[in-house]
Subunit: 216 residues, 2 copies
Amino acid sequence: MKRERISNNVIRRLPMYLRKLDDLIYHGVDRISSGELGKQMGLTPSQIRQDFSCFGEFGQQGYGYRVTELREQVARILGMHKGFTVAIVGVGNLGHALMQNFGFEEQGFNLVAAFDLSPDIVGNMISGVPVYDSSTLSDWLKNNPIDIVVLTVPRNIARSMAETIADCGVKGIWNFTNIELELDRPDVRVENIHFSDSLLTLGYFLAEQDNMEKRK
Amino acid sequence: MKRERISNNVIRRLPMYLRKLDDLIYHGVDRISSGELGKQMGLTPSQIRQDFSCFGEFGQQGYGYRVTELREQVARILGMHKGFTVAIVGVGNLGHALMQNFGFEEQGFNLVAAFDLSPDIVGNMISGVPVYDSSTLSDWLKNNPIDIVVLTVPRNIARSMAETIADCGVKGIWNFTNIELELDRPDVRVENIHFSDSLLTLGYFLAEQDNMEKRK
């Protein structure tokens, strides 16, 4: 597959394309033009064509995109066929919620273990996944190479935990600790989840509405 | 304040600027050039200047931005001084996690109530916030106008719950249900949280690394 250097903006849009394409498949849509896809996603047709052209040619002039085929390609580009393995570190409320309600498998990921300090849950199975004692994490990771760790520990131990995890050869950290983790390791990728970003955006729109009403 | 029509991309970057500026203040930085700010955020200096120019002139040629002042302006643009009121609907693991660990107040929001069906928690206080019975939600909202509802209910009732909430005059919905809520109401703003987007992005980078190693 032809590949150019792909901008971060394009990469960030890929999961959104995937969601939209899944939705189209669910609604029985077979093919879609870049114009229509753009309209539904708030993007220009040329932006859509440009995004997909980074990864090779998918669409056909005057015909548009075959939805199922395009979905397969996007999933492939995202590496969903690789079956990356995942462990969760920190099984508090958020860890629990992710284990019980987030569809790791649907997204192509394989959740294999969880770790926590609390004797109340160590030894339990949650959604078919065993919870081990956090003190065994390093040893366990050395024997069971894992691609991604979901970090849902309290923020005061977030950084040291991330360092430990990176030391054990984990290449991806999905960070829910509300701390901007910037590890000084080019070989480890961190995705920081910032809930506040979207709440603040919501606040922006409400403030705008409020300001407009006062101007009337 | 002079205001042009602001693109979604700029709006989405505002919370990131806020986080970065908070971080700079924490580290005692008084002022910063658009060049340095851009470097730290992976943006070009001209993009930064352009973003802030949408809201009026903050920086000074050759001097840069006063960090505290710029932070205040960004917070104001985001409406953080408005003190929007918030209620959580659905106090499962995720609802609990948000109530206990998400700093609503730090972000300028005022969490005043939570709602759930479970008799085990109705009547309790969580982090100083009362949990009421979901069956009283409509009546309660009519008597206690709320700006934003955090939706953390099971996905099968997400849409009907959102409609009810919108019917009661709530203008913003922060949606954690993993369903893309598109209400047909121009007066209600929905922010959908998609955890999967960032996990898939992480998967993309690991897949890229993997492909590169195989090409070696």
